[in-house]
Subunit: 198 residues, 2 copies
C-alpha cells in the first residue's frame, strides 16, 4: 500500500541541528503512518556550481518533493520579522495552489499586530490605522500572520499555535505533533487500508 | 479579443496612497496592452464580519484574481525584514504552481546576505557559516531573496532589480515598468492578435 507523503516545510533547514531535527520529524511521521520528506534529504551534487545555480537546483529539488507529497506540514514561527520564513511561505502558496492540504504550526502566540508590536514595527497610529516606519499599514485581522498565509492553510487544513519556551522556539515539536495527529485523522481511510494490507 | 490579465501582487495595498498606486499600475498595464488586476479592486462587503472572517474573504477574492490572471508582476522589495512581503511571497508560490509566469521586481539592490547584514541580522560567523541571533543560518546563494522565491520567479519569468531612492522604496515603478516591457515581449503574439481585431 502507498504510504502518504508529508512535505516538511520550515526554516528547520537553517538550524545548527537541522539534520537531527529532520530525523526527529521523520520518525514522528512514521509513527503516525506517514512518510516525511525533509528538504535536506535531497542528495544534490552541487560541487563546482556557482552559488546561484546551486540555489536554483535546491529549488528544483524542493519543488519535486512538493509535487510528490500528498500534504504538507509547515513550520510558521516568525522568522527575522513578524512573518514566517519566506521560503516556507512560498511553499504554503505552492502546495495550496496544487490543492494539497498544508497544516501550519507556530511556536509564538499572538496575532500579526501583536507580533509587529513585539518587534517594534508599529511606528504610528493615526485615525486607528497603525503603520510601520515606512508608513505601510499593519494588517489587523486577528490572524496570526498575513491573511494569504492563513487563508491558504485554512482552505484545506488547520493552523496550530503553541507557546514554546524562547530557547526552543525553532525546535519545539508540540505544534508539529498536533498537526500530525490532525493529518492522521484526515488520512485515516488511507492509513487504515495500509494497515489491512497483507 | 481577450486582453491578457496581470495580477498586481505586492505590499502596495498597505501604502497610504494604495489606491492611486494601484491606478498608476493599471494605467501602465493598459499602455502595454494588458488588464491589471489590483487587489483593492475587489469590491467586498465586509461590514459586520468579525476581523478574521473579513481577512479570509479578502484571501478568497485575491485567490480568484490569481486564478483568472494570465501572469503576475510581484513587488518584492524587502518588507519588515530582509525578505519580501509574506503575502506577496505566498502569491508568487501560488501562481508558480499554476504554471503562470510571475515577474518580480525589487527596489533595493544586493543579495540576501547583504540585505541581512544591512538589517543587523548577522550575529555570528563560525567556520564561514553566518547565523542570526537565533543561530539560524543565513542563506548565501548570491540570490536576492530566499531561493524558493527566486526559483519560482525565474522558472517562468524574470527578476528585475532597481536601486530606488529611499523615500520611494515602495512607490518607484521603474522595475515594475521593466517587468511590463518584458511581459509585453513574451505576450507579443497575444497582444498582436488583439491589435488586428476589428
Amino acid at each position: 500500500m502507498r504510504v502518504p507523503k508529508i512535505y516538511l516545510a520550515g526554516p528547520d533547514v537553517f538550524h545548527p541541528d537541522a539534520r537531527s531535527l529532520g530525523e526527529r520529524k521523520k520518525a514522528m511521521c512514521a509513527r503516525y503512518g506517514f512518510d516525511g520528506l525533509f528538504p535536506l534529504d535531497n542528495e544534490l551534487d552541487l560541487a563546482g556550481l556557482p552559488p546561484a545555480r546551486a540555489g536554483l537546483r535546491i529549488y528544483e529539488a524542493n519543488r519535486s518533493m512538493m509535487q510528490i507529497a500528498d500534504l504538507g506540514i509547515a513550520h510558521l514561527t516568525p522568522f527575522r520579522g513578524p512573518s514566517a520564513d519566506a521560503g516556507t511561505v512560498f511553499e504554503v502558496g505552492y502546495m495550496t495552489a496544487l490543492g494539497k492540504p498544508v497544516y501550519g504550526y507556530c511556536n509564538e502566540p499572538g496575532d500579526y499586530l501583536q507580533r509587529a508590536q513585539r518587534r517594534g514595527c508599529v511606528a504610528s497610529d493615526v485615525a486607528g490605522v497603525r503603520r510601520d516606519l515606512d508608513e505601510m499599514a499593519i494588517e489587523e485581522f486577528a490572524l496570526e500572520d498575513n491573511l494569504m498565509i492563513l487563508g491558504g492553510v485554512l482552505e484545506h487544513a488547520e493552523f496550530v499555535v503553541h507557546s514554546a519556551p524562547e530557547h526552543a522556539r525553532f525546535t519545539d515539536l508540540t505544534g508539529f505533533e498536533a498537526c500530525l495527529r490532525r493529518a492522521a485523522e484526515r488520512f485515516a481511510h488511507v492509513l487504515a487500508q495500509r494497515d489491512e494490507a497483507p
